[in-house]
């Protein structure tokens, strides 16, 4: 995780957006020392719910940049991700895939066989970028914990996108696994040997398949009206001047009370 949090810091810095305006709901327990360095507001939420929590943050204060970092994305968080994409809610979803929790492992992947699946796994994995793109995400990319430069660039770029962007990050599991064996370093060596950069690749072709190279890169980048854009357009049409477009950010006093 250290590699990717470094990339988070670098990506936020390159975006030019003040970290104070970035909220990072996550179901991954980042250490306070790490998050405090990032300078963002961090919320360790319930498993898989970071996108839904982030939806509340964004609609409560549209001035926030919300970057859910999700581990249980397509298990507990699946429906939230699908609908977040459909609505084009302004969220930068970082999907941290450690090959354990998301049932995505092929038999080559050491972590899958080590702990949760003593007899290895046989389930078909999800192709996250393809799924995200199909659900309406406007930006999809995948990098590994080795591609910190590209990951930082993707984060910087996606933070300026209007709508739901997703970046899948292949990263070793937390230190739990590194303590019991040298699996983490094995995975990094695995990424080095098995990944290939193909920017612009059709997301349909980037599924992770055992025995084949892992395709990384920025796959899609498009524009589509966001939830708030559509909300404002629809209600302006229906209510005319009785409607105040959403996007107004209350002052501290207004949040604290009802001052004019």
């Amino acid at each position: 995780m250290n590699e990717i949090t470094t990339a988070f810091a670098e990506g936020i810095s390159r975006s030019g957006i003040s970290p104070a305006k970035i909220s990072m709901p996550s179901d991954i327990p980042f250490a306070p020392e790490v998050v405090k360095q990032l300078g963002v507001d961090y919320f360790h939420t319930t498993r898989g719910r970071a996108i839904a929590f982030g939806t509340g943050l964004k609609l409560g204060n549209p001035a926030l940049k919300v970057m859910p970092v999700v581990g249980d994305l397509m298990t507990l968080g699946g429906n939230h991700f699908v609908h977040g994409g459909r609505r084009n809610m302004e969220l930068l979803v970082i999907c941290v895939n450690n090959f354990v929790y998301t049932n995505i492992a092929g038999k080559q992947v050491p972590a899958a066989g080590a702990v949760f699946s003593p007899y290895s796994t046989f389930e078909e994995p999800f192709n996250f970028p393809h799924l995200g793109n199909s659900c309406g995400a406007i930006y999809t990319a995948r990098w590994t914990a080795l591609h910190t430069e590209q990951l930082a660039d993707s984060i910087a770029e996606a933070l300026h996108k209007n709508g739901l962007s997703m970046i899948e990050v292949l990263a070793p599991g937390p230190n739990y696994y590194t303590d019991i064996s040298s699996i983490a370093s094995d995975i990094l060596a695995f990424y080095y040997e098995h990944s290939i950069v193909k920017n612009g690749e059709d997301p349909r072709n980037v599924g992770i398949v055992p025995e084949e190279k892992i395709i990384v890169g920025k796959f899609t980048d498009k524009e589509r009206p966001t939830f708030i854009d559509q909300y404002n357009a629809q209600l302006s049409k229906m209510l005319g001047d009785k409607f105040t477009p959403h996007g107004y950010v209350p002052t501290v006093e207004e949040s604290g009370g009802k001052h004019a």
Binding site: P19, A20, T45, F53, T55, G56, G60, N61, L64, Y248
Partner: protein, 423 residues
């Protein structure tokens, strides 16, 4: 526009959010209007009978006042979004019924752990499971108290009319902000769909509890350091406080900690901030209890039916007191204990097979008998049943250690004809 009122931290409601006037509306709609008047700026919900009209009412009026309604993908997401919205700095709420309420428990516990102010309206219907979607029930009362895992305290209010649905929705928001905890409006289908006159007063007659915002220097902010009343001040996301907020047991800084001393300190405060302030929180309506032989303890729609039952029993010459639990949680332990030493028995009509009746028994410490008037749901009590239960309680000899289940007309049918109903 609004401003601070004298001698209180409370402020006046924003006229833009108060739909002043006299209405003939149902309880659901009144609650939706109450939420707006209370300053709610975000409702995330998922439609479910019989609560949907409340969400519809809010969704209709919210955009004109700068508030947002979003229909989320499910109740899991609704509750998570409500907690998220609260941390963005706005007052937030969700609206649901039985099956949705079960799904929300995960993030209710999460919200309680983060000391998040939010309001949840549960228009109870018949359960368990899908139950009877279109008819009433009061069987979620214990769930409202113990629904999520772990130790925490909530506040639960049980209105009994559309006017109260408006008034107590505002009060629910005020309590949520004051104590930074989930506040449940435990209504039911009858009150939710009951249509009566509702008077919405002018904004300057509505008092609003503002958020306990911390506005000092970020480097001095300790997110979970409590004030004297055990409630800490809250900061908003995006204001530069570099928040670290976690559902893990945490210290005052918000950092995860494991030693049991911290758990005792933190979780203890989560429960104590409600328990030690319960005298300020609890609202009861009491009538004729001073010299009563039998006291009826009720809440929600059952308290409306109980009024008639009490009237009938009084006509039979029994001295009956009426104790209505407007606040159900925290429970008025001391009040029940004090009344138990004076009265002969309590009669508890509720639309379930015994939830609050057992709380009443717990608090009466064997000093007074407790008679439960059960109802399986999908309807309300017959007032004569409540009157008969009062008479039975009045005539019962000696102390009976267990909660006595009164056989209502409906229950007698079941017991006489067996558990399998014939057409």
């Amino acid at each position: 526009m609004g401003g601070k009122s004298k001698g209180s931290d409370k402020v006046k409601a924003n006229p833009k959010e108060v739909l002043t006037g006299v209405y003939y509306i149902d309880g659901d709609v009144a609650s939706g209007f109450g939420a707006l008047a209370a300053g709610c700026r975000f409702i995330g919900g998922y439609p479910i009978t019989p609560s949907t009209e409340a969400a519809e009412a809010f969704a209709k009026v919210a955009p004109k006042a700068g508030a947002v309604f979003i229909q989320m993908e499910d109740e899991l997401g609704s509750m998570a979004a409500v907690v998220g919205a609260a941390w963005s700095g706005v007052k937030s709420m969700t609206i649901t019924s039985g099956p949705g309420y079960s799904l929300m428990q995960e993030n209710i516990g999460f919200g309680a752990m983060l000391e998040t102010p939010f309001v949840l309206l549960n228009i109870q219907r018949g359960g368990p499971s899908t139950g009877v979607p279109t008819k009433t029930g009061q069987a979620d009362m214990m769930q409202s108290r113990w629904g999520a895992h772990g130790d925490y305290e909530v506040i639960a209010i049980s209105p009994d009319s559309p006017q109260e649905m408006f008034d107590y929705t505002i009060k629910a928001f005020n309590l949520a902000e004051k104590y930074r905890c989930p506040v449940m409006i435990m209504s039911d289908e009858c009150v939710g769909h009951m249509t009566e006159k509702v008077v919405i007063p002018p904004a300057d007659e509505i008092e609003i509890e503002p958020r306990r915002l911390y506005t000092g220097p970020p480097d001095q902010y300790v997110p979970f350091k409590p004030d004297e009343d055990l409630v800490p001040k809250m900061a908003r996301a995006g204001d530069g406080y570099n928040l670290y907020i976690s559902g893990l047991v945490h210290d005052e800084r918000g950092y995860p900690v494991e030693p049991s001393a911290f758990k005792a300190q933190y979780v203890r405060r989560l429960v104590d901030k409600i328990r030690r302030n319960k005298d300020k929180i609890i609202e009861l309506k009491e009538e004729g209890t001073d010299d009563a032989d039998v006291i009826v303890v009720s809440y929600g729609i059952s308290s409306r039916v109980a009024v008639k039952g009490i009237e009938i029993a009084r006509e039979r010459g029994i001295k009956v007191g009426n104790l209505r639990l407007v606040t159900v949680w925290p429970f008025p332990d001391e009040k029940i204990a004090a009344l138990a030493t004076k009265a002969k028995a309590f009669v508890v009509p509720e639309i379930n097979y015994g939830q609050i009746a057992f709380e009443v028994a717990r608090c009466s410490h064997g000093h007074a008998n407790v008679v439960l008037v059960p109802h399986g749901g999908a309807g309300v009590h017959i007032p004569d049943d409540i009157a008969d239960a009062i008479e039975y309680a009045f005539k019962a000899e000696g102390k009976i250690e267990r909660v006595i289940e009164f056989k209502t007309r409906l229950e007698r049918t079941v017991f006489e004809e067996g558990y399998t109903l014939k057409e």
